[in-house]
Symmetry: C2
Subunit: 127 residues, 2 copies
């Protein structure tokens, strides 16, 4: 019942949520393109640099849903990190030959921005 793209997406998810970023990167193509909230990330090195700080603060992750077909998979999950107790996210990935070549990464930056402002002693300017 688990599609090929979903298998790759779930193996990737299992690895990084267990703090195994090297293992996770084995499922990411060298020329990966990731459309994240802050903009586009291109290439495996940049993608790893983007993920590392997040994985470093990760306390827990739980899968909410995953689906896929031969080429596309969606993984929805919740994360608990040091700065943000609950940050749900969705990743919609394209998988070619067992590697993620494109990722559309959706999450709410607002609680991370607010935590950063608190940590810096600033005030949230949001009304």
């Amino acid at each position: 019942m688990t599609s090929p793209a979903q298998q790759t997406a779930l193996a990737y998810f299992e690895a990084w949520t267990n703090h195994d970023l090297d293992g996770a990167m084995a499922y990411v193509a060298e020329d990966v393109v990731c459309d994240a909230p802050a903009g586009r990330i291109e290439g495996a090195a940049a993608y790893r640099a983007f993920m590392a700080p997040f994985v470093g603060t990760l306390k827990n992750a739980s899968l909410i849903a995953s689906f896929g077909d031969d080429r596309t998979a969606v993984v929805v999950y919740d994360t608990e990190t040091v700065p943000v107790p609950s940050a749900p996210a969705a990743e919609c990935v394209t998988v070619v030959a067992g590697k993620i070549t494109h990722s559309r990464f959706i999450f709410d930056r607002a609680p991370f921005d607010a935590a950063r402002l608190r940590a810096s002693g600033g005030r949230n300017a949001g009304s």
Copy 2:
């Protein structure tokens, strides 16, 4: 190939992205619970009040992916609204008897917050 939950999620998506909020609410249960970035929304009336301003500013929406099974569906899409030119979102919904009873709604609030600050003449406090 389209699962029952996915059919409901897509019919709902078609309706609200065509500015038919009444039609969309026909697929939403009276006691719907929606976990959105800003918190939990309970009941169809509150859910409609939450969606109305967003639908009011919607210029375009495009489906990125949808998957589902008997009970759960995920819809990933991009939206163009008056304040934000591209705001991708994911909805992971539970469907019972053709109605959405739970929705996990994931999107990035940051560009909407920034647009609101600009509109109010404020400055974005983010560094």
